[in-house]
């Protein structure tokens, strides 16, 4: 464990250093991210200017859910970004070999190398949206709620990571799976809205098959309404654990079919 932290330290400091070095890139990225978020909120605002509520949900509640969904996404982006690269080019170029010559678990190795400072933006915006809507919602948040929140977030984040792990490991067989990861990742967009707006098929998919609904809507709705803690919170923890176990299993299974690339 301590070893992990020491390894991490190097990459964290490097990520921060390169941030300073590539100021322009970072700024354009940051600005575009902010504009993106603003446009998303603007969209919600415009809709709500014409309707009293969205099938029972008010503007602030929807923004809360949206902000909430950014946090696990950001956390996963912060800590597991390398998985994209595995799918896009690391396996294809043969660079993956070196992971196999090191005395550490390959998955762990890929993960500790990735520290994406950019992701802090998602976390900050997410938290800011939560904080700003909490006031106008009139919901009382207790210390227990805070603890539950801190506990549930890593589980929700791990759902993203598990999905990335699964589709990245496809690259072991097909050499490239970046675009597959991309499409499945985009399904997460469904998670920032209440699942009730979707038809049954989609609801089933985003709840049980590619369970992104547990990264945003379900846990967030618990904190808003206090309803169904077993499903909303317990479900998140359960699904996240099952998915992560599956992901690790698939990663190692696919790794065995790895045939390296080039000579």
């Amino acid at each position: 464990m301590r070893r992990a932290l020491r390894l991490y330290k190097v990459f964290v400091s490097q990520s921060l250093k390169s941030l300073v070095e590539y100021k322009v890139d970072f700024l354009t990225g940051a600005i575009s991210f902010l504009i993106n978020q603003t446009l998303n909120i603007a969209f919600l605002y415009i809709i709500f200017s014409q309707i009293p509520n969205l099938i029972g949900w008010e503007f602030e509640q929807i923004v809360f859910i949206y902000g909430f969904s950014l946090i696990p996404k950001g956390l996963d982006h912060l800590l597991a970004n390398n998985l994209w690269k595995v799918g896009y080019y690391i396996v294809d170029s043969g660079d993956f070999d070196k992971y196999l010559t090191r005395p550490v678990n390959t998955l762990f190795h890929v993960m500790f190398e990735s520290f994406e400072v950019d992701a802090l933006g998602e976390l900050i915006v997410g938290i800011a949206l939560l904080v700003s809507t909490v006031g106008s919602l009139g919901v009382k948040f207790t210390v227990l709620d805070l603890i539950l929140f801190i506990v549930i977030i890593p589980f929700a984040a791990s759902i993203y990571t598990s999905i990335k792990i699964i589709f990245a490991s496809v690259a072991f067989k097909t050499k490239r799976s970046g675009h597959i990861i991309h499409v499945f990742y985009m399904v997460n967009d469904f998670a920032k809205y209440p699942t009730t707006i979707y038809n049954n098929l989609i609801r089933t998919i985003i709840t049980y098959v590619i369970p992104f609904a547990f990264t945003g809507f379900y846990p967030a709705s618990y904190f808003l309404t206090g309803e169904n803690p077993l499903f909303n919170l317990g479900g998140t923890i359960l699904i996240a654990s099952v998915l992560m176990t599956l992901a690790i299993f698939i990663w190692h299974k696919m790794l065995r079919t790895y045939e390296s690339a080039g000579s």
């Binding site: 970072f26 600005i31 014409q50 969205l54 707006i197």
Partner: protein
């Protein structure tokens, strides 16, 4: 003229072949786009259900569906990879390979992508429009389709594509100045998506904002063609907006030439 067109034909053939090779990529691309389309569809459905009346700012639900899916089709037809492709060539240095060929840099790209677009259009245009019309017919008993609208739509789409191409070229040349286009690309994508009406029809926006956006190039990409298809514009408006598209083509074409001459000097300085 005929001779110079002949030079570019091989580029178009390359474009077609490239499509065959990267068809998986294409499938995933439209897959991703359709996901987005469906999410927006469901959100709007919920909006309509929560609204007290049958229509929302002048649109009925059926209109909205037609609008959304036409926008989806149009954004795929007018999308251009030029920025990405140029950025890649600049970063990898293979731009040198294209420069030594006796062709116009941007035109060669254009013809290559046209090859791509020909295939995409033949695959998608008829099925999507057919699907939309069937939906509309089932729900409301009438169809949207009218020949004059469709043909004008097709013209407008072609104009929209050329705007998109030259706009992307200008953007791609930014790679000469910024090492990593990733952040700027995200910005471009989200701005275009929003301002071209993909998420919200421009008609929904407050009056002044809507008027400004209508005049901006992004609306000319997909909003104008879709509005034409849906018959929202009368004849004078149609002519105006088509003319606006032509205007933007000229603007971005000129801009790309300017940036090109500035950038090519920089390239020569950096090379060797």
């Amino acid at each position: 003229m005929r001779n110079s067109l002949k030079i570019y034909k091989p580029f178009t053939l390359t474009g077609i072949q490239e499509f065959m090779i990267y068809k998986a990529n294409f499938l995933f691309f439209i897959g991703g786009e359709i996901l987005f389309c469906f999410i927006t569809f469901f959100v709007w459905k919920a909006v309509f259900n929560s609204s007290s009346s049958d229509s929302f700012m002048g649109f009925t639900m059926t209109n909205m569906v037609v609008y959304l899916f036409m926008t989806y089709l149009s954004s795929i037809l007018t999308s251009s990879d030029a920025a990405y492709a140029i950025g890649e060539e600049i970063v990898s240095g293979s731009i040198a390979m294209r420069l030594i060929k006796p062709v116009n840099y941007d035109v060669s790209f254009l013809f290559q992508e046209i090859g791509n677009k020909i295939i995409i259009t033949s695959i998608m245009l008829i099925p999507v429009i057919f699907g939309i019309e069937v939906y509309k017919f089932i729900v409301s008993g009438e169809i949207q389709f009218q020949w004059i609208h469709f043909l004008t739509y097709f013209l407008s789409i072609m104009l929209g594509y050329i705007i998109s191409f030259y706009f992307n070229i200008c953007f791609g040349f930014l790679a000469f100045y910024l090492k990593n286009l990733w952040g700027a690309n995200m910005l471009k994508e989200s701005i275009i998506r929003f301002l071209s009406g993909a998420i919200i029809p421009i008609a929904f926006l407050p009056q002044t904002m809507g008027n400004i956006l209508n005049l901006m190039p992004f609306a000319s990409l997909t909003y104008t063609p879709v509005m034409i298809y849906m018959g929202t514009y009368n004849i004078s408006e149609t002519i105006f907006f088509l003319g606006l598209q032509v205007f933007w083509i000229i603007v971005f074409f000129g801009l790309s030439k300017l940036i090109w001459s500035a950038a090519i000097k920089k390239l020569c300085v950096q090379g060797g």
